[in-house]
Assembly symmetry: C2
Homo-oligomer: 341 residues x 2
């Protein structure tokens, strides 16, 4: 029997959607989640693809998430909106907040969105990419649970706390996007190594005694390390403050205190900043600003071995809509089983 | 003869100010520069202290900088201002822009400042610290010259491109601040190693052939490396876009094209974002937001070996106002000689 199952992107969407709906997750929430899961599989971003469906289902089943929540948007200041996900999943809440955020940004020049009470397991890049597709520069920051040791420490405190950034590109090119954990690796990458029985690279983690480890299980029980030493740790701390104290969200260690240790993740905060380039120069000349950026990218790509941050995802995106993707049979069966409620 | 010269902080300020004025730099520009140089010496931040005076003087002498420039402030959008330094030094331009930026931020919730045509050799932390002293969250980003290789590349392209962040603290505590190069080391640190004849740590730089080096001269002729591999390089790229294309400033490689290779640095851009925490929650409760952050800091500092990012500077700040500082005799004499125009 084959170890992997081939799926078209429509199959992915249908499988995700049916499984989520079967578990009482509303049509709107399921649609938004299935869209982000499908986008991840389309881009070869396995750790945020169908692999995450069990956690979504578990979060809905154990009551940490409200599967029928309807997000609400609140105007906090001329440049700030809040989206309250009311303990629902992030993707629908972000979708609901996007248009008000774009409107504020194009009128004010810069704006921010604080997303609170949201169950956030998806990647950040789909949101910043969508905002950059609207011509904006976008940043996003999200906490996680207590996984990463602070600089000089040995016990988990910070989340993997990704920071994402997107810059719009002209002529129909997809935006320049990066979405990177402030830890040496994403949590999902360690989980994939564990699933596949592979050792971790050096420098990713320490065990529960604070000693370096390459064992995924020991790493998950110990602490992940920040990327780049104290500088990555400073970014992790910044993300805690932005997606936590600033917008009234929990810190990663507070998320962990609420954690039911069953693969789900309690609701938390995300912070987004968007900037309209046209308002950042004295004569609005967005064409020239974007052309200037293209000159930098060209200069960089002249050097052999370089690439733009999201290029691997965009390359996969050229292939998977026609060729489809594969997932491990075990995962496929696990998801199918979750449809039996 | 002693190799070092003791100076009080007033001596530092007077020495800096007299040397700058003797070279035709206006009283206002000299005052702002001497303030930042003195703040750096006060905090033990040697690479931005009196060590930088020769570069300031050289920049004024060779005509890259206008030593009598008067910065102007322009309102670009409800949330965005531009400060044009008119080829003067950054510290005065930032001082002139600060009040308008604070006003915009407290009314809009979030605001941005694009500083253009500024000769920027100072650290970023004095500005974000000053903004956080006003109760705001602040980010700052600045390009440099072409020093750092992109991920996968071997030739300099990006600047050392520091990113700074500050968070206000209650009860008269100085703000939480970090100011970190997106390279493995600051340029100034390599220059200090060269001056002192010390080898560089591994991982800081490659030579002109793209090979790892610990020789400061080979590093300065080759390329610095980003911190944390491709993630630090992504941050360097982000800084180029924010302080360059977004606000109409030059990229680091364009700064290098204008460089006269005499220790001065051509004018460039800086980008600042400020956020008023009170506008980021539905009921303005800044006391609770800041108290929440303090709980995170306490939790972190419970772990032996941890510290808050700016703590070493703040510790020096307790000592130097009474005990003074020292600088190498060679530097002291170099600066004194610069007073002979």
């Amino acid at each position: 029997m084959s170890e992997s199952i081939p799926l078209s992107l429509s199959d992915v969407h249908a499988l995700a959607s049916a499984t989520l709906r079967a578990n009482g997750i509303s049509d709107e929430q399921s649609q938004a989640l299935a869209d982000t899961v499908t986008a991840a599989e389309r881009d070869g971003c396995k750790s945020h693809g169908l692999f995450r469906i069990p956690a979504y289902v578990q979060s809905a089943r154990n009551g940490l998430v409200n599967p029928v929540a309807v997000p609400s948007v609140h105007d906090l200041a001329p440049g700030v909106i809040q989206v309250d996900a009311h303990n629902g999943f992030a993707p629908l809440a972000l979708r609901v907040g996007r248009e008000p955020l774009v409107e504020k940004t194009t009128s004010q020049g810069i704006a921010a969105l604080g997303l609170i009470n949201s169950c956030h397991i998806a990647a950040l890049w789909p949101e910043v990419e969508a905002l950059a597709e609207r011509g904006l520069v976008a940043f996003a920051f999200v906490t996680a649970a207590s996984y990463v040791a602070p600089a000089g420490g040995t016990k988990p405190l910070f989340g993997t706390n990704p920071m994402a950034f997107a810059w719009p590109r002209p002529d129909g090119k997809p935006p320049l996007v990066f979405d990177q954990a402030s830890s040496a690796s994403a949590r999902g990458e360690i989980m994939l190594h564990q699933r596949d029985g592979k050792p971790l690279p050096e420098g990713w983690a320490i065990d529960a005694d604070g000693q370096p480890t390459t064992d995924p299980a020991a790493a998950l029980a110990g602490a992940q390390l920040p990327f780049g030493g104290y500088k990555g740790a400073a970014i992790a701390l910044m993300v805690e403050l932005l997606a936590g104290a600033l917008i009234g969200g929990p810190f990663s260690f507070e998320v962990s205190q609420m954690d039911k240790k069953d693969g789900s993740l309690p609701p938390r905060g995300e912070f987004i900043i968007t900037i309209d380039p046209g308002h950042c120069v004295s004569a609005d000349n967005k064409t020239a600003q974007l052309a200037h950026a293209e000159a930098l990218f060209s200069r960089m790509l002249e050097q052999p071995g370089t690439r733009l941050p999201a290029d691997r995802r965009y390359q996969m995106r050229q292939i998977t809509p026609t060729e489809g993707i594969t997932i491990p049979r075990t995962l496929f069966e696990q998801i199918k089983n979750l449809q039996q409620v």
